[in-house]
């Protein structure tokens, strides 16, 4: 194992992590809610089309939406029930998007995590790479770290750009979120099973599991497990420095391999695949048990939550119901965020359903929210110092503010990974990443408005 905490990248910030609110809470299975809204958009790439009709009866695990495009992932019903409607539903990012509304007919059903059904004698050699690809594709697995890129696409070996390094992302760098930490402790063998399957699919034995050094027990659990599990013996467990956004794939690659992914590019360009621990666990379930991705671990935490916890929740469950399971909102709750406080989306509608990419609901109380009042930039350069992409956030944001989109692009606006470090650090409380995101949207609109 490498020296703890030495491996890092340039930039980043150290927000307080508040992990102890939920880090001791084991993952709980939840009873099925009466109604679910399964979004048709849960992945990057082609959006699913519904393959069921109103009033159809569906069973748990049945495909309810799909798309034939290569870059896509089908969606499944998490429960037995009836399709009540296919209609627009609030969506944290898109505003409103189509969802399949299912009324479950057996609210006592619970789906338990399958972690204890995996064992150390697992041998990935029983599965052919094509079989692994097929299972993952059918199971509708997407990157569960937040991006939602269809995983099958990533694990299909491509002779043109072979993968020579696999990195499993066990860095949960957003404050409050602990579900990946919990599954690392509780689902260790399942995760390693998934990792060995990825390694088999890509025929690449150079595998790292990167974990931040503030999770020494997770590191220890994996260290121990790889010695008892023959198929995992070649995996390297790496402690990386605790820092935000260590869990960003480009940052993690830099920390572990010291290689830079070009801005605007993707890891396979330098022969690296990054996937998160929850995704690896889902792959194991998909390949070994043919289990589609219908549930995921979700942390519900924050100063605005009465009893924070970690839940194994069905996709489509309303955020509000999960919040109720965690004791409900405190009286001073002020912001409901899907995701973590650094990159998550604030919502004001508790009916918004969780998706395959949503690993957390964070509710902040008034006392944890800094009231922002923008003051003039004092050119202190802190935003530049913390930008992991080595950009000049102040210049870009200033340009966007004054509608100088060309200037913003000359300063590489599109390379921004929207990590929010610049806004976090700015003493003048300028919403730098907000301006940059707006700028990107404006440019995208402009491009559509001007045909070639």
């Amino acid at each position: 194992m490498n020296t703890p905490g030495k491996l890092t990248f340039k930039g980043g910030v150290h927000p307080p992590d508040y992990k102890d609110l939920s880090s001791q809470c084991a993952i709980e299975a939840v009873s099925v809610p009466k109604q679910l809204a399964v979004m048709l958009t849960q992945n990057i790439g082609a959006i699913c089309k519904p393959v069921v009709n109103k009033k159809d009866h569906v069973t748990a695990g049945q495909v309810i939406g799909s798309n034939d495009a290569f870059v896509s992932a089908p969606i499944h019903s998490p429960v037995n029930g009836t399709v009540k409607d296919i209609a627009l539903q609030s969506h944290p990012v898109l505003g409103r998007a189509e969802a399949i509304l299912i009324e479950s007919d057996d609210t006592n059903q619970q789906k338990w995590p399958r972690a204890d059904q995996f064992n150390v004698t697992f041998d990935p050699a029983h599965f052919l790479p094509e079989h692994i690809f097929d299972s993952v594709r059918k199971a509708g697995i997407v990157g569960m770290g937040g991006a939602g890129f269809p995983t099958s696409v990533k694990i299909k070996a491509n002779p043109q750009s072979p993968i020579n390094t696999i990195i499993i992302n066990g860095c949960e760098c957003e404050p409050f979120i602990t579900c990946d930490y919990r599954i690392m402790l509780e689902w260790t063998i399942q995760i390693l099973t998934g990792v060995s399957l990825i390694s088999r699919a890509l025929n690449c034995g150079n595998v790292y599991i990167g974990i931040e050094d503030n999770k020494p027990d997770a590191i220890a659990v994996f260290e121990k497990a790889i010695h008892t599990m023959p198929c995992a013996s070649g995996i390297k467990i790496v402690a990386v420095k605790t820092k935000y956004p260590q869990g960003g794939e480009k940052q993690l690659i830099k920390s572990i391999t010291n290689k830079d992914v070009p801005a605007g590019g993707i890891p396979p360009m330098i022969g690296v695949l990054v996937t998160n621990v929850a995704t690896a666990a889902a792959i194991a379930e998909a390949v070994v048990f043919d289990g589609p991705l219908t549930h995921r671990p979700v942390t519900v935490s924050g100063s605005g939550i009465k009893t924070p916890g970690n839940f194994y929740a069905p996709v489509g469950m309303a955020a509000g119901e999960l919040i109720e399971l965690a004791g409900g909102l405190t009286d001073d709750a002020e912001k409901i965020i899907l995701g973590g406080p650094m990159m998550g989306f604030a919502v004001a509608d508790l009916s918004i359903p969780i998706t395959k990419t949503c690993g957390a609901i964070t509710v902040l109380a008034a006392k944890d929210i800094v009231k922002r009042k923008e003051t003039p930039c004092i050119r202190c350069g802190r935003c530049i110092e913390v930008c992991p992409m080595n950009l000049t956030p102040t210049t870009i944001a200033h340009a966007v503010k004054h509608n100088l989109l060309d200037t913003a692009q000359q300063y590489y606006m599109s390379a921004c990974v929207e990590c929010g470090c610049c806004s976090y650090i700015c003493p003048a409380d300028i919403e730098l990443s907000g301006f940059i995101k707006t700028g990107k949207i404006l440019v995208a609109r402009q491009k559509k408005l001007m045909p070639k």
Partner: protein, 342 residues
């Protein structure tokens, strides 16, 4: 319950600091030098400091009113400007000159550009430059510190008999010694060494805040530890100044003093830690900071060694301020890993 719920773009948390806390840190960093100035120049220091700070704040308030802009005094930047301006003035300066200098610093140096963050020149240095141009004589009357002349007249009497209690600043003194009265080598070294010790502690004549190298160093180190200022600019300023002084001293030891003397002269430390590091008027990028700091160090030494002025920090900072935007353009950053068009 949902009526309390608010929406805004991420990130939803931020570091608990503000422009105000950054400025407050700078003020704390200046405290050792403030104390030193009060020890050495007594009430004179108090008067100069008070008149600069109060008038800077007042001018800023008036400008805000005139521009119908919200009150910006809370960010404390006017206080910092006031202290730094006071520090760059001789203790014997009359209070009304302080007020004129503050007016220039705030109105012309800062507010006409649009206020904090928009100004090109360091406001305090702009103010001092104006006073040097208008009140040249008053700006070069140096009071002997109270620790040397215990009979140093107190308030009120200074302006009445300035000549009686003045002395050239160490750098001026040394410049004169070396230029006009080439003394035997050992005698010179003795004189210079004595001055060096006094300079470190601060018991030499000079501008208010520049006398005690030690006090400035303590404050500077505080700012470095708190990471309020970046280490690059002070390192570049002092490093390059040292190298220039060293080379000059090697070439002609009879005419140029040891590099340590230059470093310990408060003007340089003051400039390196508190003036050149003014974020607003320095470049944004690290590479830019190196260039800027090196420029300040080199220009300071050029002025000190070749020019007529014994001091050079003010002009060096102002000159480099003027090309700061240019430096930023030349040191434009490129994204990590290079850019591909995705």
């Amino acid at each position: 319950m949902l009526q309390n719920i608010k929406i805004s773009p991420s990130p939803h948390i931020s570091k608990h600091h503000s422009t105000q806390s950054v400025m407050l840190d700078v003020i704390i960093g200046l405290v050792p030098a403030i104390i030193a100035s009060l020890v050495f120049f007594r009430m004179r220091a108090g008067i100069v400091l008070a008149s600069c700070v109060i008038s800077c704040v007042a001018f800023e308030a008036v400008c805000n009113l005139a521009r119908k802009k919200p009150n910006s005094l809370g960010d404390l930047s006017a206080v910092v400007t006031g202290i730094i301006l006071a520090f760059s003035l001789p203790p014997s300066i009359p209070f009304w000159v302080c007020i004129i200098g503050s007016g220039f610093a705030i109105i012309i140096g800062k507010m006409v550009f649009g206020g904090l963050g928009a100004n090109i020149f360091n406001p305090a240095m702009a103010g001092r430059c104006f006073l040097t141009a208008c009140f040249g004589t008053m700006m070069t009357v140096w009071t002997v510190p109270a620790t040397i002349d215990s009979a140093m007249p107190q308030v009120g009497t200074v302006s009445e008999a300035p000549a009686a209690i003045t002395q050239a600043t160490p750098l001026g003194l040394i410049k004169d010694i070396l230029k006009n009265k080439p003394a035997p080598q050992d005698e010179k070294i003795k004189a210079v060494n004595g001055i060096f010790k006094n300079m470190v502690i601060g018991s030499t004549s000079g501008c208010l805040g520049e006398t005690s190298a030690l006090a400035l160093l303590i404050g500077g180190i505080y700012l470095l530890i708190k990471r309020t200022i970046d280490w690059i600019i002070p390192t570049a300023v002092l490093g390059v100044a040292f190298i220039c002084a060293f080379i000059a001293c090697e070439i002609d030891p009879h005419h140029y003093v040891l590099p340590w003397i230059h470093l310990a002269s408060g003007g340089l430390l003051m400039g390196a830690f508190f003036i050149a590091t003014d974020p607003v008027t320095a470049p944004l990028t690290k590479k830019g900071m190196w260039i800027f700091g090196a420029g300040v160090g080199a220009l300071t030494m050029l002025i000190r060694l070749v020019g007529e002025y014994p001091e050079g920090v003010m002009f060096a900072v102002l000159l480099m301020n003027s090309i700061s935007p240019l430096i930023d353009r030349f040191t434009k950053l490129t994204p990590t890993g290079g850019m591909v068009n995705a």
